[in-house]
């Protein structure tokens, strides 16, 4: 190979994707995807190790997405996967990354303020940063986010242009929205219908629940292209933005049509295990607290239940005594990793989840069967009230 990796290499990458233009925007924060060994493989590991040896370092605060292993409970993972995941994290740390290993860096590890220009990968975090906090980032790819972390700037395109993030299509939703799953499905449907346009969302009866919007945005990020959803009465600056002329009206049947493509209608066969996973995107401290509260009335869950959260939220929850309650009821809490977990790829269970994004990727990339179920319904169906008394359900 002829070249050595330098800052110039990354400048050329940013240039090439804006067709040779050389206009840049200074950024103050970066977040990287392409961290999981199951995603980037040996080629990605090799590249990151070469890069970390090149002497280049991150210029701005840089956090990283989850890997595929919880290093404290990695027993079910192949030792090769654990070792290689560890090397990826080490390379990124060497370059100055915060060992956040989360898709919700905005909560603890990489806090943002309104108006801040940043270069983030990880679609759900991008949508959250722009739509909830009012920061400004395009949906960066793994390599462009890496380039921006090293250079301290990103290409002046998309949302960084004057009217770059403005909405191009108005969505009105006429049906009911009862839980986080409905919100996730609505986001997913909007993504399918919006094309490249940023949507402006008007709800009949908006709720004030951030976890619901988190699911809406993660669902949108899964199927859509735009980096922002303008949510009426929530997104900073929503009242000043020009409302789009083009309107799409959605109702419950639009959600149902997509739900069946992501959810099995029949329970798993008797020889196939069922696992419930939640925390995609990673559960916040508040969500852990709510989950804890919702489990108060039951003794345990009759189905193996996995919760994913960030390392930072995990230690906070531990300190506040929230984890002990979950663990006591047989819930496993994972950090540093996500639902695309090493052992799920091997053991091929049916996965039940309240996350549309999780279902989409578990089906697409891991080829697993998934069942969509909101958290509250799951607890009602699989919660065991007294010892020996089995809940209903599959």
């Amino acid at each position: 190979m002829k070249t050595r990796i330098t800052r110039r290499t990354f400048r050329k990458i940013l240039e090439s994707i804006q067709a040779g233009r050389k206009r840049y925007v200074k950024i103050s924060s970066a977040h990287l995807s392409g961290v999981s060994y199951l995603n980037i493989g040996d080629a990605g590991l090799e590249f990151l190790e070469d890069l970390s040896r090149s002497g280049l370092r991150f210029k701005v605060r840089t956090t990283i997405n989850p890997g595929c292993v919880d290093f404290d409970s990695a027993v079910e993972c192949d030792s090769e996967v654990v070792e290689k995941q560890g090397r990826i994290v080490k390379s990124l740390k060497n370059m100055g990354a915060v060992e956040s290993l989360t898709c919700t860096p905005y909560l603890f590890d990489n806090p943002l303020r309104r108006g801040q220009k940043i270069a983030w990968a990880e679609s759900s975090a991008v949508l959250y940063a722009n739509s909830i906090i009012g920061a400004s980032t395009n949906k960066e790819g793994s390599l462009t986010a890496l380039a921006s972390a090293i250079l301290g700037y990103t290409s002046q395109s998309g949302i960084h242009l004057r009217s770059g993030g403005n909405p191009g299509v108005l969505f009105e939703y006429k049906g009911g929205l009862e839980n986080e799953l409905d919100y996730g499905l609505l986001g997913y449907v909007m993504g399918l219908k919006a094309g490249a346009e940023a949507p402006y969302l008007r709800l009949k009866k908006p709720v004030a629940s951030i976890p619901y919007y988190k699911q809406l945005l993660a669902g949108f990020g899964t199927s859509g292209a735009a980096p922002i959803v303008w949510i009426e009465n929530l997104t900073p600056g929503f009242s000043r933005v020009r409302k789009p002329g083009r309107k799409i009206v959605l109702d419950r049947s639009d959600l149902e049509k997509e739900r069946v493509t992501l959810s099995e209608e029949t329970p798993p066969p008797h020889d196939v295990k069922l696992v419930f996973v939640t925390g995609c995107p990673h559960m916040s401290l508040d969500e852990i607290e709510d989950f804890n509260e919702a489990l108060r009335s039951i003794n345990r869950l009759s189905v193996e239940t996995w919760v994913f959260t960030s390392r930072s939220a995990y230690s906070e929850a531990l300190r506040k005594g929230l984890l002990q309650g979950l663990l006591g009821k047989g819930v496993r809490v994972f950090k540093d990793s996500c639902i695309m977990y090493c052992s799920l790829k091997k053991s091929k269970p049916y996965v039940m989840t309240n996350s549309v994004k999780a279902a989409y990727y578990l089906r697409g990339s891991f080829r697993l069967k998934t069942i969509l179920k909101p958290l509250k319904e799951f607890i009602e169906e699989y919660g065991v009230k007294q010892h020996g008394f089995k809940g209903q359900g599959y």
Binding site: K2, S16, G34, G41, D42, E46, F47, S142, T144
Partner: protein, 137 residues
Amino acid sequence: MLSSMALKVKVINKGVAKGSLLMSRQPISFFGGVDPLTGMVVEKNHPLEGVGLRSRILAVPSSKGSTVGSYVVYSLAKRGVAPSGIILGRGDNIIIPGAILGGIPVVIVDMQKLLSLFKNGETVILDGRRGRILRPM
């Protein structure tokens, strides 16, 4: 004459390469579709399945699939099994970053013109300095 056979191109990553032309109308996925150790196309039913990319001038309309493909292009270059030059039909955010990392010249052309002027397997020079593709003297 020679100059009349040169096809003008847009240079994306500078450099000059010579090799036998490997053209496909199908986009290519480097992640999953190309063996990163050998540079062999392994995607089932791809027109280039079973063909090695090493030292070829690869011409495809674009990439497809996972963005991790960038790392595979880099890895191929590092092992010396990458194409010596890449011709694309349009801008592409997987192959181009990978080629820049791996030091592989990349140009963009009108694919229809390329297909009508050159034959698969013939030796060409990709002149990513002066912006043209031509047959060697």
